[in-house]
């Protein structure tokens, strides 16, 4: 009886911590990872050369990959704080509440990840003089998409995790 009560809450603790740090670090590394991947896979540049070029342009005027990473990371940091304050404070005695919240937050994170990934890929695959503007608008778009993704996640959670009938 004790084991069954503790196991789900222990899993939730791990999930909350993973979600928090995954969101922070993932948001920062996502654009950099996509940049390197496009160089290696699409432009057929050897990884060592792509890596060298990437590090060279991290702080270079006109490129500033560091700033691009940081701009993309901002909404993911907000999501991380939300995971901590929304999921972390959930009472474990009612397992349905944290589960539904977890699915909602996963929906928000997944939606943001897809949107950010698609935007970065589009900018790199179809370069344009105004392309860099996408990096400026992306954080705003991601912040707006967060509650939408969360709402969708909660709807899915309500369908998949129905309240047990009393």
């Amino acid at each position: 009886m004790i084991a069954t009560t503790h196991e789900p809450s222990s899993r939730l603790r791990v999930l909350t911590r993973l979600g928090f740090w995954g969101s922070v670090i993932g948001g920062l590394l996502l654009p950099w990872g996509i940049m390197l991947a496009v160089e290696v896979i699409v432009h057929q540049v050897p990884f060592a050369r792509a890596w060298r070029s990437f590090t060279l342009h991290l702080f270079a005027p006109g490129y500033n990959f560091f700033l691009i990473g940081l701009l993309t990371a901002v909404p993911f940091v907000v999501l991380a704080v939300l995971i901590l304050l929304h999921l972390g404070v959930t009472p474990v005695q009612e397992p349905l509440i944290p589960r539904r919240r977890a699915v909602g937050l996963a929906g928000a994170g997944l939606g943001m990840l897809i949107l950010a990934g698609w935007t970065h890929l589009e900018v790199l695959l179809h370069p344009d003089a105004q392309g860099a503007l996408a990096y400026l608008y992306l954080p705003v778009i991601l912040l707006v998409s967060m509650p939408i993704g969360y709402g969708l996640g909660r709807v899915i959670a309500t369908i998949l995790l129905p309240r047990p009938s009393s």
Partner: protein
């Protein structure tokens, strides 16, 4: 951690606080990384990068040093060497462009190095010389007569590069605009297109130039006609509102160099922007003080009230700025005297 098992919530308040603290620490580390990798702190690393075998590394390093500005003085010897002796033209131009933001005298040394090369037997040397002089921008003003002479070079790429360099230098405006107008009638389509491009995107357009460009709207070469349309669609540079907006732009560091350069090219028409330009004679950056002196000097009699401020500029720490200030004073006094003479019955 043993307290977690009995915690009524997924994470204890202590755990939440620790995670938030960890996040703040992580963001602080990122800030520290940025701080250490930019500004004057990055100069030693960037100097090392200037010695790299890969030209793209040398180019990026030079560009970053240019952004650092006068605080990157330690890089001057390496940048001078790169601007004058590097085998890559792009590395030459990147280093020259950086030098103008760091030290005007060093930039003038590069100019002095390349002016004789405009007459080199090898066309590639002449092309590179034009490109490097252009990358120095308005600082290469003394190279304008030599570049105007190259406007009749037999090699079309030399003529094209010379026009691009002249447009990038921009001052003194009248002979440069005349050369660009002549370029519109060049035998090479490439040179004609380059000249039209400068009017569309670089050189501010005064009414006489607009009049000269109007017939090009019917040019049989569609690209030239399109560029002429782009140029004519631009806001009139000598328009009062346009001068006012340039006057506002000089107050913002991001657009200051551009706005001052535009005002310097507009000459007496830019007289209304004198007040915002005057304080820039005391700016920390020599390039800004130089451009401010050039802009004020070009205003002519309209800048008479700037003479006192200019006199203080005679003591400027930078010899290139001092020279520009002296030229500005002479120009304003000369123009004022001749206008007074003309006004006498």
């Amino acid at each position: 951690m043993t307290g977690n098992a009995s915690s009524p919530t997924v994470l204890t308040p202590r755990e939440i606080k620790l995670h938030l603290l960890g996040l703040v620490l992580f963001l602080g580390l990122l800030g520290l990384w940025y701080w250490l990798s930019t500004g004057a702190r990055a100069v030693p690393t960037l100097i090392q990068m200037l010695q790299d075998d890969d030209p793209s590394t040398r180019i990026v390093a030079a560009e970053q040093l240019g952004q650092v500005g006068p605080a990157a003085r330690a890089a001057l010897p390496r940048l001078l060497a790169q601007a004058t002796t590097d085998g890559s033209q792009h590395a030459n131009t990147a280093a020259a462009a950086a030098l103008k933001s760091i030290d005007l005298t060093a930039a003038r040394q590069v100019m002095t190095h390349f002016i004789p090369r405009l007459q080199d037997q090898d066309a590639q040397q002449r092309r590179t010389a034009c490109a490097v002089l252009g990358s120095l921008g308005p600082v290469a003003k003394p190279a304008v007569p030599a570049l105007l002479a190259v406007g009749h070079d037999l090699d079309e790429l030399v003529r094209r590069n010379a026009l691009m360099a002249l447009a990038s230098i921009g001052i003194p405006s009248p002979p440069i605009v005349a050369a660009l107008l002549e370029g519109l009638r060049d035998s090479s389509a490439l040179v004609r297109q380059t000249a039209a491009t400068q009017f569309a995107f670089t050189v501010p357009l005064t009414q006489p130039v607009r009049t000269a460009l109007t017939p090009l709207l019917n040019d049989p070469d569609r690209s030239i006609a399109t560029l002429a349309r782009s140029a004519l669609d631009k806001a009139k540079s000598d328009d009062v509102a346009q001068i006012e907006s340039l006057g506002m732009m000089v107050q913002h560091s991001a657009a200051r160099d551009y706005a001052l350069h535009q005002l310097a090219q507009l000459g007496p028409a830019a007289g209304d922007a004198l007040l915002p330009v005057l304080p820039l004679l005391q700016d920390d950056r020599p390039l800004v003080r130089y451009l401010a002196a050039e802009a004020i000097g070009a205003m002519g009699p309209a800048a008479k009230q700037a003479l006192q401020a200019l006199q203080q500029g005679r003591e400027d720490s930078d010899p290139v700025v001092r020279e520009a200030v002296a030229d500005a004073i002479a120009g304003i006094e000369g123009a004022t005297a001749s206008s007074e003479k003309a006004a006498r019955p």
